[in-house]
Symmetry: C2
Subunit: 244 residues, 2 copies
């Protein structure tokens, strides 16, 4: 009778408000302590501990113990993706009921999704990289073109500096606010790391929001391939000359 794995188990884990708040707080990819997660989700330490134990057992979070601090991190990129898709559904269903706070526009503009850039700017980066020929969708996977590596080299991202892992290099992630794809995977993480390091963006404390400095946004736009002209589309898909 059961088709696949027990989907209700993980869904029930996300189904509690306290736990979902914790998970959303971890969406920025940072590892938070149990105490921080407790106060963030509005429950006592004991309750939080119980919830975290369940999340850990279910594999939705991972724990790292440092001294007397227990750091919790999201269980993986797939967990982040699942949360984003759930956000997608929630948004559509009771979106009208939810009042949008003042921070929402910033959140839509640019935010951290697990470890990479999301929001309008995240989608924009992905779009430009695709239309500019820096990455191509080969069906089975996204790959970086030679022109792409050349462009990445200009912001000091080189293949040998991206940590190796079983995780795919490029991946797409569905965007909750835009309902479009943006760049995830190791490369997506590396890009965010880089623009943070370069000071193009800075994080807003205790939130997923990231804010571009005006010079940073200019620098990003200068790095990205320009928007293609609206007329002819990809069949000729040449990499813009400036990139080479």
């Amino acid at each position: 009778m059961k088709d696949g794995p027990d989907i209700s188990r993980v869904a029930a884990l996300v189904g509690d408000p306290a736990r979902s708040n914790m998970l959303l707080a971890l969406m920025d990819g940072r590892a938070l302590t149990a105490g921080e997660l407790a106060s963030l989700s509005g429950v006592t330490k004991q309750t939080a501990s119980s919830h975290l134990a369940r999340l850990l057992d279910g594999g939705l979070v991972a724990r790292e113990v440092q001294g007397r601090h227990h750091y919790y991190r999201l269980g993986g990129a797939d967990v982040a993706l699942a949360l984003e898709t759930l956000l997608c559904v929630s948004e559509r269903r009771n979106g009208s009921r939810t009042r949008t706070g003042p921070r929402d526009p910033d959140l839509r503009r640019a935010r951290i999704c697990y470890d990479h850039l999301a929001g309008e700017l995240g989608v924009l980066v992905y779009d430009r990289m695709i239309s500019g020929g820096l990455i191509v969708d080969e069906g089975s996977k996204l790959t970086v073109t030679p022109a792409g590596w050349a462009a990445l080299d200009r912001i000091d991202i080189r293949p040998d500096e991206i940590p190796a892992s079983r995780r795919p290099l490029c991946r797409t992630c569905l965007d909750w606010s835009m309902r479009r794809h943006h760049l995830a995977g190791r490369l997506g993480g590396q890009i965010l790391k880089t623009i943070l390091l370069k000071g193009w963006v800075r994080r807003v404390p205790d939130s997923r929001i990231i804010r571009f400095s005006s010079s940073g946004e200019r620098a990003l736009m200068a790095w990205l391939p320009p928007q293609p002209s609206p007329g002819r589309n990809s069949s000729g898909g040449r990499v813009p000359g400036r990139a080479g």
Copy 2:
């Protein structure tokens, strides 16, 4: 404190085994009656009715009344996507614990996801259509190329025959068993409809499984563009010629 919409509400709806069974049963895109859903999920009519009312209120399913029969269908493509991603997570987390039944290989091979083709063959169709240049990822969206329309015309799919709606024509959907993309959207639905009509595949009753007839599989392969690289090349992803 709340970032976005109340994600825990929808997650809690999926979090009950009876409800998740119902939702998974609806993943094939068909509309089932309340009674069928009751027996499928293993609860009485009364319980099922209560669950369905909740799902309806949450927008996860839609109801259509015909005579004394109440047909329930999935609330939308985004709901199907969310369920697939949750399947993805569940698979990874407690996949080893779940014993794989005999039907699983068939389910992995080809199944219905909402209204389109999924599984190995679904991914294969998507891959070939991308690598063969029938559809292209323009970043913001997938579009069908002129060559793509010509190919689709050969299996009697024409632009004016695809029902208009706000739903995107082409969309990708993450595959639970393959963890890769396959073709969704209105075009994905139309393709499935077509190959069902042509008798290339037939549905296995009371499941999401679809089975290709041998002639049907040959016909599909004959229609699809051939695989680009000569041998099976799993790791050394070759960039298609025109990107360079």
